[in-house]
């Protein structure tokens, strides 16, 4: 039996809402003179406006799409529709051997993957000139160091003139130091400037909240000044926080750990057309957390496809950190299985202790995985609270979009929740209720 993606999983692949709408218009078998499938792929012909039908084919292992239509969106509506049809009306597909166009394409994809692996192997095998590397790194450190000195002066000016002046500042006031930090190859620091600006704009008790971001920024600035005195893991965290990330190849060189991983949930945020996808994982036996971070521009699809609510056997290589979380997938094995449970804390206080421990290791973390067991949801004066069996409560994040769905699934009884801890609330991303795992949507535009 070929691997079938559920409707939710297919919809999650869509580059935008318009594509989903367009694909739904194609869920008419009459439009498809040919619908065929085998173990590895599904292919079909879809009538379009022209004379010739579009040839659509999907490699089910990833899934990867190919279509003869001219659309620039990816996957296009035809690809989405074909996969949706497979999910909704699988009977309409004929089991058939692959026609040459499909077989050739699958083969070329396979070759490309192998070549890439070879190239990567060749690259890692190539001896790096340690002297040149050290020189290059020293240069970058100098640039960053200069940039941070500048930033230090800007921060001091800000304090000298007072927080009360901030709401009256024009866009340039914020843009210029941020741009200088990006030039100085410390884009991660610029993020705190953006965040401060947003907090001022949001109003409310902004002075306190801006003070917190300025504190975080200054802590990072001081940590970089002490770079040589830090442990290698701490150095890695400071570099990451400043936006100086390791090459993927370097991370993949390290030994990978293989374990079936639970896919706990997925959240997406968009900032200036750059979309960031976070997929939270948990080792089935070890309980070890992992974060698969992925970026996509505009309507491009994400490269990493893991469906929340499944367990996938993965080889993971972690980025070095005092609190190892972010990892890369080195290899995946076998078919995903349904997830029926996960490790978690029965008490909110225990879960918060773990958060505190993680923050002690890396104070710049602003999202952490949090899995909770036996929780109930309660509405309290326009906000929602997650309540544990010990009579403690934690507010759900204000941009949690589906509290009623969660409440409906729980039926008022305790259930297990997976989500993200954030400084301003818990963001539920999935739960396990009587009807199995249920994912919650989390797409935010900043």
């Amino acid at each position: 039996m070929a691997r079938v993606y559920t409707r939710d999983q297919v919809l999650a692949l869509a580059p935008d809402a318009a594509s989903i709408k367009a694909a739904q218009k194609l869920l008419n078998i009459g439009k498809w003179p040919l619908l065929e499938t085998d173990e590895a792929a599904v292919w079909g012909e879809c009538k379009g406006s022209g004379k010739k039908p579009y040839l659509v084919q999907i490699d089910l292992s990833e899934p990867a799409f190919k279509c003869s239509c001219p659309s620039r969106k990816f996957p296009c509506k035809h690809g989405l529709a074909l996969l949706l049809l497979l999910a909704d009306s699988g009977d309409a597909f004929r089991q058939a051997p692959q026609p040459p166009r499909v077989a050739d394409w699958l083969e070329s994809r396979q070759t490309r993957v192998e070549k890439k692996a070879q190239r990567a192997a060749a690259k890692s095998a190539r001896p790096v000139d340690p002297e040149a590397l050290a020189k290059q790194q020293a240069k970058r450190r100098q640039a960053m160091s200069d940039g941070l000195e500048d930033f230090d002066l800007w921060l001091q000016d800000l304090i000298r003139q007072g927080l009360a002046a901030l709401p009256g500042r024009d866009a340039d006031y914020w843009r210029q130091p941020a741009a200088r930090l990006v030039d100085a190859k410390a884009p991660g620091m610029a993020r705190w400037i953006d965040e401060s600006k947003r907090r001022v704009a949001r109003g409310g008790d902004w002075p306190q909240r801006v003070m917190a971001t300025l504190g975080q920024a200054y802590l990072l600035r001081r940590a970089f000044a002490n770079y040589d005195k830090l442990t290698p893991e701490q150095q890695a965290d400071v570099r990451t926080a400043l936006g100086w990330t390791l090459d993927k190849e370097a991370v993949l060189e390290d030994e990978a750990i293989r374990e079936p991983m639970r896919v706990l949930g997925r959240s997406v945020s968009e900032n200036k057309r750059l979309r960031e996808q976070r997929i939270w994982l948990q080792g089935q036996t070890s309980g070890r957390p992992a974060l698969i971070l992925d970026f996509a521009h505009g309507q491009q699809p994400f490269g990493v496809r893991l469906s929340p609510g499944t367990v996938v056997d993965l080889e993971l290589a972690y980025y070095p950190s005092a609190v190892p979380l972010r990892a890369l997938i080195k290899a995946r094995h076998g078919e995903p299985q349904a997830m029926t449970d996960f490790h978690g804390s029965d008490r909110l206080e225990d879960a918060l202790d773990q958060v505190a421990a993680a923050l002690a290791g890396n104070p710049w973390l602003d999202r952490l995985p949090m899995t909770l067991r036996g929780m109930r949801l309660v509405a309290a004066e326009g906000s929602w609270l997650v309540v544990d069996g010990a009579g403690r409560a934690l507010p759900a994040h204000r941009s949690f979009q589906q509290p009623w769905e969660l409440l409906a699934v729980s039926g008022g009884r305790p259930l297990d929740l997976s989500g993200e801890w954030r400084p301003d609330g818990f963001m539920p991303l999935g739960c396990i209720g009587e009807e199995g795992y249920q994912a919650f949507a989390c797409e935010e535009i900043q």
Partner: protein, 521 residues
């Protein structure tokens, strides 16, 4: 010292006050951390502030704890369900309906209620947010959402319509304190259970209500109307408000045993005489004046709505509209067809037939409706003037009769009239918001004539046919679905302006087919 205090102290800047934000924190670990950091750098006051913020920010983030939440403040959990969950495939169809085809929701709910299965919990919020469905399907919605749905609805004010419809005990507070629409809903619900209690509740407060409320609330008596309501309604004919009097007169006219109905019948009796010679003829005198008693009974002298009738004929029309139809069928012993035949060349045909149409719709008289619809002279024009449509009469027919009538008419009609007939079908087969199912024969007849027209170039741009396509998709019995998809596609040349609609047509029929398959009893 906290971040909040630090922020407050530097609102105006270190420029203005040098000591701003430089207190020593009370917590031992914090002051230790500060000391270590401050030793290392030659500190400006600004840096001292920033260093404090750098220590306090992670300290406060890591120290954010949970709140105390006493256990008794948790709402009661939902009781376990007694009905099974619908199949995964049926749930998948429901999700598609919620996404893109809300018009098909009542059909899904009806099938699910008949099958005795319920909606998956996670879809309940979207389903309930769709709002109160029109007419009958509220019962079906209540059954399909199961206990979980009712439990959930009880916690969201926007969904209270569901709880109110399902509650065994009505909430008396709504009646005492609610807005007019809510009170009307309460009264309707009570009326459905205990008609007597509802009327008594209304009578108790009637004197204290304003005219609009009186009229609105009185209109709820139409539900479960009986002779027990007659004395109260009769007394309302003397109400101060014209609005209220009109509602009361209308209700009483609908009660054949009421004093008002009898008075109307007597008035008619004085004006109408039957002559039986070779054929039945009817002699009618026009009422000469509108006396005070007639005005009290709701007959009006106002000129608007007359629609070309003279003054006397206008009074006659109103009189007949308010007279029980048994006057014609029982007292005069006229079969509906005979009555209409006798009226054919009558000088006052327009007034009498208009009155009859109104009385027929009010009484939901199927026999008379059929006779009126089949009258050779046609009643279209007369209906329009009474603010009625043919569909109002058609939907009074029992389903089998209704379909036979519609089929015969579709078959007989010349091609140029067919688009209008098709356009009428949806409304004619929808009663109080509920879509009565079409028989296969009706579906086939509509499909045949529609598909034939579509093949003729002169009809291909008719917007009525285009919009009928969506009616057909939603109403056609699913057993005809696959035949229909090929049938409407038959024209060799595609019609570009219709491509999208034809595509939707196939999608809707396909969804309905899946839905019927998955929820078959």
């Amino acid at each position: 010292m906290s971040l909040a205090e630090l922020a407050k102290s530097v609102l105006l800047g270190t420029e203005r006050s040098l000591s701003a934000g430089l207190e020593t924190p009370a917590s031992a670990p914090l002051s230790q951390a500060l000391e270590t950091l401050e030793q290392r750098v030659e500190e400006s006051p600004e840096r001292k502030v920033l260093t404090r913020a750098a220590v306090l920010a992670p300290y406060e983030a890591a120290g954010r704890r949970s709140l105390a939440w006493p256990d008794h403040a948790l709402p009661a959990a939902c009781e376990p369900e007694s009905t099974p969950l619908c199949s995964t495939a049926a749930a998948a169809v429901l999700r598609r309906l919620l996404d893109e085809q809300k018009a098909l929701l009542p059909e899904w709910l009806e099938l699910a209620a008949a099958r005795g299965v319920r909606v998956p919990a996670v879809l309940l919020p979207r389903l309930l947010s769709g709002g109160r469905p029109q007419g009958e399907p509220l019962n079906q919605l209540i059954r399909a959402v199961g206990r979980r749905g009712l439990w959930l609805a009880a916690q969201n004010e926007a969904w209270s319509y569901l709880a109110a419809g399902a509650a065994d005990e009505l909430d008396d507070n709504i009646w005492q304190e609610g807005r007019l629409a809510e009170r009307k809903g309460y009264l309707e619900a009570l009326r459905g259970r205990h008609p007597e209690d509802a009327r008594r509740a209304l009578q108790e407060v009637f004197g204290q209500e304003n005219a609009t409320s009186r009229a609105q609330l009185l209109s709820t008596l139409a539900l479960g109307l009986s002779l027990d309501d007659e004395p109260f309604l009769e007394s309302c004919l003397d109400d101060r408000s014209k609005q209220v009097r009109a509602v009361a007169a209308q209700q009483l006219a609908a009660l054949p045993g009421s004093r008002l109905a009898q008075r109307m019948q007597q008035r008619c009796g004085r004006l109408v005489r039957l002559k039986k010679r070779l054929r039945t003829t009817i002699e009618i005198d026009l009422p000469e004046t509108l006396d005070a008693a007639m005005q009290r009974d709701g007959l009006s002298d106002r000129a608007d709505g007359r629609g070309g009738l003279g003054r006397g004929a206008w009074h006659l029309m109103q009189l007949i509209a308010a007279t029980p139809t048994t006057f014609w069928t029982a007292e005069l012993q006229l079969a509906p067809a005979t009555l209409l035949k006798a009226l054919r060349r009558h000088a006052w045909r327009a007034a009498v037939v208009r009155g009859l149409c109104l009385a027929t719709v009010r009484e939901r008289q199927a026999e008379l409706a059929l006779a009126l619809l089949e009258d050779k002279l046609g009643i279209g024009e007369l209906l329009t003037q009474s603010r009625l449509t043919e569909e109002d009469l058609i939907r009074l027919l029992p389903l089998a009769r209704r379909d036979a009538f519609l089929i015969a008419r579709l078959r007989r009609a010349p091609a140029k009239e067919v688009p209008a007939l098709l356009a009428q079908l949806d409304r004619a087969t929808t009663d109080k918001g509920h879509r009565d199912p079409w028989s296969e024969a009706l579906g086939q007849a509509a499909l045949d004539r529609f598909a034939k027209l579509l093949r003729r170039a002169e009809h291909q741009q008719d917007w009525r046919l285009h919009s009928f396509l969506s009616t057909l998709a939603q109403r056609l019995p699913v057993s005809l679905a696959s035949a229909a998809t090929t049938e409407v596609r038959r024209p060799a040349k595609p019609i570009p302006s219709l491509e999208d609609k034809l595509n939707d047509f196939a999608i809707v029929l396909d969804l309905r087919t899946q839905m019927h398959k998955e929820l078959a009893p």
